[in-house]
């Protein structure tokens, strides 16, 4: 079996979620790598969308900014942020990948502050386009390292909507119906959300980790699927394409 690191695992697992012909709104880094990998393996017609206006590029290499020229290289359209987000708002975008400094059991994300808002210990960038993508795209996913400081009982600030307070709270919030968090992919496991409570639930565990590891590195109680699978590790092909074609300089996967 191939040697791989946890970033390579997460990207490979994420890429498998993206079916051919789907649309995905991504940022720089791991999400973009996952989308590029999916295009090269199983989803050649996956349409990659950047919030700044790039639509359907043939990415020649990893962009460093979601607005740099790579995001419109041989693209279908170089448009505006309004056009792109309108497109998400009216239901054309299937997936998005987001992240944050904190995540809670309903998949809500914090990328605004640690500490009190008025007097923060650490100021982060804020929503950017994350709140927008999470509000509009049908299925929101997260790739993140897992630890109890990041997976918290209560967010310091709810920047980006997951299932809000669970149950039907998102439905009642005014956000578009039917959209919400879908999968959380960490270095230890893959989680989805239990359909009624909308609480995070373990559905598969990554090679080398135990159920206890996963729970111990989470600041809230995780639900467990009836059958918990073993996450399939990256294949030789996935690793080769990821290392040689998607991220040859190791910007994201940390190898070069």
């Amino acid at each position: 079996m191939a040697d791989y690191n946890s970033m390579e695992l997460m990207i490979s697992v994420a890429a498998r979620e993206l079916e051919n012909g789907a649309t995905v709104g991504v940022g720089t880094g791991a999400p973009c790598a996952a989308a590029m990998l999916a295009q090269k393996i199983s989803a050649p017609d996956l349409v990659i969308i950047f919030e700044a206006g790039g639509f359907g590029p043939e990415l020649p290499e990893m962009p460093i900014s979601v607005g740099d020229s790579r995001t419109t290289y041989r693209a279908i359209k170089a448009g505006s942020m309004g056009e792109t987000m309108d497109y998400c708002s009216r239901g054309f975008v299937d997936y998005t990948f987001l992240g944050g400094a904190q995540i809670d059991m309903y998949g809500n994300l914090n990328s605004t502050v640690i500490g009190d808002y008025a007097n923060p210990k650490v100021r982060f960038p804020g929503s950017g386009g994350a709140n927008d993508f999470a509000s509009f795209c049908w299925k929101m996913m997260v790739m993140t390292p897992q630890d109890s400081k990041r997976f918290v009982e209560k967010l310091d600030f709810l920047t980006t909507p997951g299932w809000l307070q669970g149950g039907n709270s998102r439905e009642k919030s005014g956000l578009p119906l039917g959209a919400g968090p879908y999968k959380i992919i960490t270095n230890m496991a893959v989680m989805d959300f239990e359909p009624n409570s909308k609480r995070m639930r373990i559905i598969s565990i990554n090679p080398g980790y135990s159920l206890k590891d996963v729970q111990d590195n989470c600041g809230f109680e995780l639900l467990k699927a009836e059958k918990i699978a073993d996450t399939l590790p990256p294949t030789e092909k996935e690793l080769r394409i990821l290392r040689e074609e998607v991220d040859p300089y190791g910007y994201v996967i940390g190898r070069s």
Partner: protein, 329 residues
């Protein structure tokens, strides 16, 4: 949100963005060859009872060939966005295609006068009308494009245009000012004529955009008629110029001179003689029947329509007129 006033007109389309989202969630986004004949496209994507919108402005970059085909196929009971509608509406009225009409600009052909046929049909009692303005319909399409149920504006208020619309007014919670709220309009099917498209539906038009970007974004189904095909490579080499991206498009129909007898910016000017023939024929029921038989019902397609109305010689004259070649000496 307290409604202050409400128009008496009927709202023909549900402005709920979640319905639109549910539709677009399932719309195929694969980049596949969508080239087909106009006949097939109209058969497949234009249904009796659908709400229809036509791109362009008046007789400028308007998919006239598609309007003929709709009439030829005898489509009926449609809703229609009478948004800067002139010759397109004249054709659809001749076929009595629609029975519900959002009015912004109808029955007229601008400086050319009024269409007897459109007027007669509207005065027949067979058509239910709701009043709007050109900008109001453009904003209504923009609302659908943005995935919201309405957008506010500051026109229409205080008039009978509002009274016979299906709009509402309410106070702005930031300024206390009264605003008109224009409900989203998402046509079931729209047709837009463009200068060039690839086989997937990535296309470009030149000159004024009118409300065609909003329309393309707002519509559930979209037929493109194009003067010509270009390679997908050409689109990708200049993505800043893409007018409409492929995923909004259901069919690509190659129809050279597809805007004739209207104007196509940079390509051909309108055929004013033929438009006058229309306006004259309309005034006499028998003559008009014969005229429609000749030009639409017994006409196989747009190529034949052009041939019987002057063919390539006429097209080259209209090109010279469009390009103001007479001014070059």
């Amino acid at each position: 949100m307290e409604v202050i006033e409400q128009g008496l007109g009927q709202l023909f389309m549900n402005p709920d963005p979640d319905l639109l989202r549910a539709f677009f969630q399932l719309k195929d986004r694969k980049m596949v060859n969508k080239v087909m004949t106009l006949k097939n496209a109209v058969e497949k994507f234009v249904h009796d009872g659908d709400y229809l919108a036509i791109g362009g402005f008046g007789a400028n970059r308007t998919p006239i060939a598609a309007c003929h085909e709709i009439v030829r196929q005898g489509k009926k009971n449609m809703g229609f966005a009478g948004h800067t509608a002139t010759h397109d509406m004249q054709i659809l009225s001749a076929g009595e295609v629609y029975n519900r009409l959002d009015v912004a600009y109808v029955v007229g052909l601008e400086a050319r006068g009024l269409s007897a046929c459109s007027r007669k049909y509207l005065q027949s009692g067979k058509v239910q009308t709701t009043e709007w303005t050109n900008y109001a319909l453009s904003v209504r399409l923009q609302a659908a494009a943005m995935g919201v149920p309405y957008l506010p504006a500051r026109n229409m208020m205080g008039t009978d245009t509002f009274k016979y619309s299906a709009a509402k007014t309410a106070l702005c919670p930031y300024t206390g000012k009264k605003l008109v709220l224009l409900p989203a309009l998402s046509p079931d099917v729209s047709i837009i004529h463009v200068h060039e498209s690839d086989i997937f539906g990535n296309c470009r038009f030149k000159g004024i955009a009118v409300a065609d970007k909003e329309l393309a974004n707002a519509s559930k189904r979209l037929i493109i008629t194009t003067e010509k095909l270009i390679s997908s490579n050409e689109i990708k080499q200049d993505p800043s110029s893409t007018s409409i991206p492929y995923h909004l498009v259901d069919a690509v129909c190659v129809v050279p001179f597809g805007g004739y007898p209207g104007t196509m910016a940079g390509e051909y000017f309108s055929d004013e003689e033929h438009l006058k023939e229309w306006m004259t024929a309309e005034k006499d029921a028998d003559k008009f029947k014969a005229f429609l038989n000749k030009n639409i019902y017994e006409c196989k397609d747009h190529e034949e329509y052009i041939r019987i109305n002057g063919g390539q010689v006429k097209m080259q004259e209209l090109r010279a007129k469009e390009l103001l070649l007479n001014k070059e000496g």
